[in-house]
Amino acid sequence: MTPRTRRTLEFILDNLVWFMLLAILAAFSLFIPNYFQLGIFANIIEASSVLGVMSIGLALVIIAGHMDLSVESVAALSAMTVGILFCSAGIGMGITLEPAWIMVPVSLFLGMLAGGIVGAINGFLIVKLRMNAFIVTLASYIWVRGIVLAVSGGRSAQDLAPAIRWFGIQRLLGLPLTAWIAIFCFVAFSFVMAKTPFGRHLIMIGGNENATYRAGIKVNRILVITFILAGAIAGLSGWLLAIRTSGATANLGTGMLFNAFAAVVIGGVSLKGGVGALPGVYAGVLLLSSINTAINLMGVQANFTQVIHGLLVLAAVLLDALKLRLRQKLA
């Protein structure tokens, strides 16, 4: 095999999920009437913004060789925090600040703070006390949702302050600002992972934690920061969720965790840690969103979505194993 064909093959393997996305979009455009429209594609991107942001945090933790099951509940907590404070109907307190735009950074900060605190608790228990990440974050998944239920009393907050809601309405190049926020997050964190020492260390910790410790990298510090980041990013996705739904309900975002997992795995992040990149995760999110849109357009019963998602995750894992074998042949 010439080096050139090898490079081409490696490139295709590295970016397989993007090729899959293109293939699926082409297939849907050909076979589903009305699929090929700019509006549909904009809708796919728009619909994937909340899930996309949440997947970033999850992907960071998984690349570092750990696990965070709490992201969904954390997003709900953030959304409820924003909802209760800045909604004017339901359980909303309808707080208004002058000038109105100041509510945007304040609500965003509070949402991310709530997420960051849960992330810090997770990080402390997992990294400092050496508790199992799966169990710790499963517990957080439950107790954080519990707080959301308790605080809201099971009721909802509606009518988010217009100044905040503006982000979901105002469009730039056909996409709402919330979608641009998600895109910006992907670009920013892709950069961090690929080009900065922090990202490099995170990937190496996922590959061989012992080696990074011996090399003098502050493993514990980086891992705690990663959990806090995952929490804060989940908080950001909750803020976007509150904007999208113009409020918050007690069961907001239920089931998103599994979609986030699906996106991360489809995007090429290996659950064993150390493998994967964020652009792929974004492609994974878009892929899920494209399929959802197709299901809607075809008028298939919505409940089938879950079946298809499950099969997709299986296919992704299968593909991962296949890719690994191909790569070993290439080496």
Partner: protein, 256 residues
């Protein structure tokens, strides 16, 4: 007893694991520019001792003097900061990243872009290419992930890494386990070259021939104590084997 200025002095180092005494009072000195071969049977305590020096374990008692000052590394990072490099038996490579990333693990070169530290991949690759070329190690592409490299290539990377970073003291725990004949010869040359720069070297090995090829002094540990500490030129492989097995100390020469 050595002609080298002392670099690291071990004084009565003891280590207990529960009721088990792994080290029962180890004392010897490593000089600047000296190569000390640390020999002993499996379970004699060699690796434990190396971990204590390199910050992986804390001794139960005893003290170390590094460059004349009391020294105790609480973590590998501290030992590294003091100038102690370690090559472990199970390699310390992250196989999911490329050769360059491994070479610079924890010491990445960066340049500031808008105040953000950004990896300077070009500069790092140039350094690695030069270091590997100097050592005569051939690796097809420095951008290959280490998982695609052979055991020998991996060990060569690890060896080149310590040669490049040097420091003041290098600890090698069975560094040639996966190397071929030619690579081992080169590895031994590397060790000599490093020592000639005034760096102290401790090499753990099971292969007597290697110890006699490279070491200035041979220290034998048996059941947690120093069973022999002799200059290479004053002893023979047979005598060292007897020290390791504990048959007799008589023919071993002056014990430390």
């Amino acid at each position: 007893m050595t002609s080298f200025a002392p670099l690291l002095v071990l004084e009565d180092i003891r280590k207990n694991f529960g009721a088990i005494e792994a080290l029962k009072g180890i004392s010897f000195t490593i000089g600047k520019g000296e190569v000390v071969a640390l020999l002993g049977d499996n379970g004699a305590g060699k690796s434990t001792l190396v971990k204590i020096i390199s910050g992986g374990l804390e001794p139960t008692s005893g003290r170390m003097l590094f460059e004349g000052r009391e020294f105790l590394a609480k973590s590998p990072a501290e030992a590294k900061a003091a100038g102690i490099e370690t090559v472990y038996q199970d390699l310390s490579l992250a196989t999911n990243v490329d050769v360059v990333a491994n070479f610079f693990m924890g010491r990445e070169l960066t340049r500031r872009v808008l105040g953000i530290p950004v990896l300077d991949e070009k500069a790092m690759e140039a350094v690695v290419a030069k270091a590997l070329a100097n050592a005569g190690t051939r690796i097809p592409s420095l951008r290959t992930k280490v998982e695609h490299l052979s055991g020998g290539q991996r060990q060569a990377i690890e060896l080149n890494r310590f040669v490049h970073w040097g420091g003041k003291l290098v600890l090698l725990d069975e560094p040639f386990a996966a190397l071929g004949v030619e690579q081992t010869r080169r590895g031994l040359d590397m060790i000599r070259a490093v020592a000639n720069q005034g760096i102290g070297v401790v090499i753990i090995t099971h292969i007597m021939q290697q110890a006699f090829q490279v070491a200035d002094r041979i220290v034998v540990i048996r059941q947690g104590v120093v069973a022999g500490d002799v200059a290479r030129k004053d002893t023979s492989p047979d005598a060292v084997v007897r020290m390791i097995t504990g048959e007799t100390l008589a023919a071993a020469g002056a014990a430390g």
